[in-house]
Structure formats: C-alpha cells, structure tokens
C-alpha cells in the first residue's frame, strides 16, 4: 500500500499532477482518435470495419472520461464508473452488431455497405 503521509511526496505529487497541460494532451489525443473513428465510419465499405470504427469512437469517449475523472474529479472517481458502464454497453453492442452482420451476410451474400440498400427510397 502506498504511504501517502509524507508531506514531501504529497507536494511532489501535487506539482506533478497539476501540470496544466496534461489534461489537454489527453483531450487532444482522444479528439484525434474520435475523428479517425468518424472517418472510418463514413468511408469504410466493409461492414466489419464500420463496427471497428464504432469501437474506436467508443474508446475515444472512454479516454475522455478517464482524463476528466483523473484531473477534475480525482477523489470521487465517477468517470471511471462511467467508463466501466460504457465498456459493458460496448461489449453488448459488439455482440449484437456482429450477429446482425452475420444475418445480413446470410441474406445478401456480401459485406459491402453499398449494397445494403433495401430501404433506400
């Protein structure tokens, strides 16, 4: 167990932790990951890759939540609780999404997103 009683260590952690730029670094990183996910979601033609892009976007949101939880709410870490819930919902979404993909593949015999156009005017 970490002994956090020493004042020197406390002040060291304070000075380490309250570097004001670190939060911005994490937020910029998650913004970049989210934009890559959006690009993949729109431009992919393989349906499995679309599901992977959705996972990328969910991970970007998780990274955002964790960064806020650490830098803005370090004592009552509600962001970590939200991240665990998001991971749970993402697991359910991946299972159902891949099952839907298998059903579509059985019906249409392709995974090309451009040919899933039964509902297109």
């Amino acid at each position: 167990m970490v002994d956090r009683a020493g004042f020197a260590e406390n002040s060291l952690q304070d000075s380490l932790h309250n570097q004001p730029m670190y939060l911005q670094y994490f937020l910029l990183l998650s913004a970049a990951l989210f934009c890559i996910g959006v690009y993949g979601l729109v431009t992919s033609r393989n349906a499995v890759r679309v599901l992977m892009s959705i996972e990328l976007m969910l991970n970007a949101v998780n990274l955002n939540l964790m960064a806020f939880s650490n830098y803005l709410d370090g004592v009552t870490i509600k962001g970590q609780v939200f991240t665990v819930f998001v991971i749970t919902v993402a697991a359910a979404e991946a299972a159902v999404g891949l099952a839907i993909l298998l059903a579509i593949y059985r019906n249409r015999d392709t995974v090309d997103m451009e040919q899933f156009n039964l509902l297109k005017w």
């Binding site: 952690q13 304070d14 380490l16 309250n18 570097q19 004001p20 670190y22 939060l23 911005q24 910029l28 990183l29 913004a31 990951l33 934009c35 996910g37 959006v38 690009y39 993949g40 729109v42 431009t43 033609r45 499995v48 890759r49 599901l51 992977m52 892009s53 996972e55 990328l56 991970n59 998780n62 990274l63 964790m66 939880s69 650490n70 830098y71 803005l72 370090g74 004592v75 009552t76 870490i77 509600k78 609780v81 819930f85 991971i87 749970t88 697991a91 359910a92 979404e93 991946a94 299972a95 159902v96 099952a99 993909l101 298998l102 059903a103 059985r106 015999d109 392709t110 995974v111 090309d112």
Partner: protein, 199 residues
C-alpha cells in the same frame, strides 16, 4: 502510480504515437485481418494510457474485455464472413473520401480549439491511486446500484438477442443426396463451395 515526470511524459508520447498509428492502420489498411489485429494494438495502448491516469482497475478491465473478448469476437466474425470479394468501384468515391477527410479535420480543429482555449477547473486534490477499486465498488453498490443491475439485464438481453439473430434459419432434415455430398455443400449457404478457395 508514482512515476517520475520524465517517465510519464515519455510513456505518454510512446503510447499515443502507437495508438494513433494503429488507429490509422485500422481505418486505412486494405486487409481486414490486419485491421483487426491493429485494433488490438489500439486497445492495448489505451490500456497503458489508463495506467498513466491512475486507473489500474479500468486498465485491467479494458485489457480483459476489449482485447480478450471484443477483438476475438471481431476476428471470428471476419473469419465467418470473409469471402475475399472485390468491391465494385464506385463513382465519386474519391470525392466522398476527400469531403469526409475535410469534415473530420475540421472537427478535430474545432475540438482542439475548444480544448486549448477553455480554462479547465483543475482539481487540487491528490488523486486516489490504488484505492480506486474500493471507491468504484462503493459507487457500484450505493449510488450506481440501479445502472449496475440494469447492466446485467442488458448483457442477458444482448446474449439472447445475438443468439437469436445469428443462428441458422433452417436445418436440413434429411442428409444431402450423395451427388451433392462430394461438393461439400453447406446447408445454410448453398451458393458457396467450401473447397473453392481462391488462390
């Protein structure tokens, strides 16, 4: 995590570069199997970033659930639907990709401006490090008890729904005729021969 500042910074740079390169590989790679393995790299890098953010429990959960479950599930789905088909070329595909790239770059610039210009109200308290798992457990069983129980119901619904969606539509009652037995026809996908792999 009690790491020196330089170690933290170097780890952050290495993990973020790995994550961005692997994410670009997921989106841009031509082979879908490479994309799936690079997605595992993205998940592992994000788990390392969680360790940098004093959250060892969520990092372990990320490794177990994403790399161990979701990535393997995606690989199995690729194995089930991988026909090696060549997609038909589309008109204006390059225009679509160009417009999407511009929109995503604009979104990134917008988000970056917001992140840099906002004065964040940083907390002055020392973050709890390894005791985070106790706090998470207290949250789960006191003020987040209802979402925690609903998550179990959601997982049960997803389990049953995935099985109902992905099972076979019909089963062959009688064994197939002997002349079709040499071709090894699958009963649910009669169009594709099993032995016919493209070289």
């Amino acid at each position: 995590m009690n790491l020196a500042e330089g170690v933290q910074l170097v780890s952050f740079i290495v993990l973020s570069v790995t994550m961005i390169v692997a994410a670009l590989g997921v989106v841009l790679s031509a082979n879908i199997v490479y994309s799936a393995f690079l997605l595992g790299g993205v998940f592992i890098s994000i788990s390392g970033l969680y360790l940098l953010l004093n959250a060892s429990f969520v990092a372990a959960a990320q490794l177990l659930i994403y790399v161990g479950a979701i990535n393997v599930l995606i690989l199995f789905a690729i194995m089930l639907v991988n026909k090696g088909e060549a997609f038909k070329p589309l008109k204006y595909l390059w225009l679509r990709q160009l417009v999407t790239a511009f929109v995503c770059a604009g979104l990134f610039v917008l988000l970056s401006t917001m992140v840099v210009t906002t004065p964040w109200d940083l907390s002055l308290a020392v973050p709890i490090g390894d005791e985070a798992i106790y706090v998470i457990a207290q949250h789960f069983f006191t003020d987040y008890l209802l979402p925690f129980e609903l998550a179990s119901v959601l997982l049960l619904m997803a389990l049953i729904g995935a099985i109902v969606l992905a099972r076979r539509e019909f089963f062959a009652d009688a064994p197939p005729a002997p002349e079709t037995k040499e071709d090894l026809l699958l009963p649910e996908r009669p169009r594709e021969l099993v032995g016919s792999t493209k070289e």
